[in-house]
């Protein structure tokens, strides 16, 4: 359960989508969510679906990876569909025993299910094609454009980067501490929630102590290299918008435009 954290969702391939600027992908995802909320007919969903398929094909990510996010939702989607299908009043289409399927119910059920599926797959496409560290970069650059937050963009991104860097280290550490306590006879896997919470103390205390030690050592190391915040700091890999990003933005606005247009068709 702990092992798959480090891998995360990122699926590296050498596609155009992967090479897009992370900012482009973040903005696309936000606009895509907005577009999904604007959709009110099937043609609009057709546009959203076409966009998803196109991106998936270009990004060379296996379809079952993209659909993985939906798997966890199957149950919720089924309840949603069932309730909408049987509970919506309207013209009765089919009837057996006490169940009635209405035309309106059918429409609403399909509509809700599609919205849920598109939302989850759309947002997971971003995390599938972008590594967490370049997403952090993208967030830092994007926040620099927001007045009020601009001052803290660098600090926030730095803290996120540190967190990302320490996740595997601390997980290894947790594992080691758990084994050490088990070797001393600690019982970690049984009991009710209260007992489990109690058994966490001998794990969390050494974990926090070592985490704080690592943090303070890192702070000293950073200051020894003259770290003093984001001002006048230069980067090794500066983000640059390329030609493909312009195309991507154009496509995004085309999609949003198409979705809005379908509202009047």
């Amino acid at each position: 359960m702990l092992k798959d954290v480090t891998i995360g969702q990122y699926y590296p391939t050498n596609s155009i989508i992967h090479r897009l600027d992370p900012r482009t992908k973040i903005h696309f995802t936000l606009l895509y969510i907005v577009a999904l909320f604007l959709v009110d007919n099937m043609i609009g969903y057709g546009v959203a679906f076409a966009t998803l398929i196109t991106i998936t094909l270009i990004s060379k990510i296996p379809v079952n990876y993209v659909l993985r996010g939906v798997k966890g939702l199957v149950f919720i989607i089924m309840i949603t569909v069932a309730i909408n299908l049987f509970m919506t009043p309207g013209t009765v289409r089919y009837q057996f025993w006490i169940f009635k399927i209405t035309e309106e119910g059918l429409k609403v059920a399909v509509f809700m299910a599609l919205r849920l599926i598109f939302l989850v797959t759309g947002t997971s496409l971003m995390t599938l094609t972008t590594s967490p560290i370049s997403l952090t970069d993208g967030i830092e650059y994007s926040l620099k454009g927001v007045p009020g937050v601009r001052k803290y963009a660098h600090e926030l991104a730095m803290m996120m980067t540190i967190a990302l860097r320490f996740i595997p280290t601390l997980m290894e550490e947790t594992d080691r501490i758990m084994k050490a306590q088990k070797a001393r006879g600690a019982d970690l896997d049984s009991g009710n929630l209260i007992q489990r919470a109690k058994s966490l103390i001998p794990i969390l205390v050494p974990l926090f102590v070592s985490a704080f030690r690592r943090a303070d050592e890192l702070a000293i190391a950073m200051e020894a290299r003259c770290y003093r915040g984001g001002e006048n700091r230069t980067r090794l890999h500066a983000l640059k918008f390329g030609r493909i990003d312009i195309y991507a933005y154009a496509t995004t606005f085309l999609m949003i435009g198409a979705v809005i247009l379908t509202r009047w068709i």
Partner: protein, 195 residues
């Protein structure tokens, strides 16, 4: 302890990493509460950060934790669950931090945790009623959400009763367990922090 800014950055970063790991291994306690309420211990590092570095640290930790969960684990709710977690946890950390910052005594720590827990429970109820459940209902019908509640407690029949009988008891339980755990851990960790 000169130049605390870098130390603040690294400590908050590391605590966020722990919070992330603890949130990653969340588990629903469907026997007692509706299954969409997941229990995890990720607020322990956030509370610890709040005690040692003030309310801002706590808020930043819960923020980074949720962003990372969204980026790495992926969201099953399109981000709504993460935003909910951030708002509610922040409402918990801020009073704790403000009260404890004022005077760092045992009495104030207990007072802070009590006020923080109450604020969190109230904010959670209000936010769920006015924002989260209406937002969720864009994807799934209200009846489906209520059904997950009435599967546990037949008295849950509406959004109001879901919040009063499902979400609020869960939050009382959660804040109690986590506050107690943090108090026990902070007592042992704090000598290291103030060296």
């Amino acid at each position: 302890m000169k130049n605390n800014k870098t130390k603040f950055l690294t400590r908050v970063g590391v605590l966020s990493a722990i919070a992330f790991v603890l949130m990653y291994i969340d588990f629903p306690i469907a026997v007692l509460f509706p299954s969409f309420l997941k229990f995890d211990f990720s607020e322990v590092p956030a509370l610890l950060g709040t005690f040692s570095m003030g309310p801002l640290a706590g808020v930043v930790i819960v923020f980074i934790k949720n962003v990372l969960i969204y980026l790495i684990k992926g969201s099953s709710t399109g981000g709504v669950g993460e935003i909910a977690n951030f708002v509610i946890s922040a409402a918990w950390m801020i009073p704790v931090g403000i009260i404890y910052k004022h005077e760092k005594s045992k009495k104030n720590a207990i007072k802070g945790m009590a006020v923080g827990a109450v604020t969190m429970i109230v904010v959670a109820a209000v936010a769920n009623y006015f924002v989260m459940i209406p937002l969720y209902s864009k994807f799934m019908p209200i009846e489906a959400i209520i059904a997950t509640g009435s599967a546990i407690n037949p008295a849950i029949v509406s959004v109001e009763s879901l919040i009063l009988l499902g979400i609020t008891p869960f939050n009382i339980f959660k804040t109690a367990v986590i506050s107690l755990l943090t108090a026990l851990i902070y007592k042992k960790v704090s000598p290291v922090l103030h060296r």
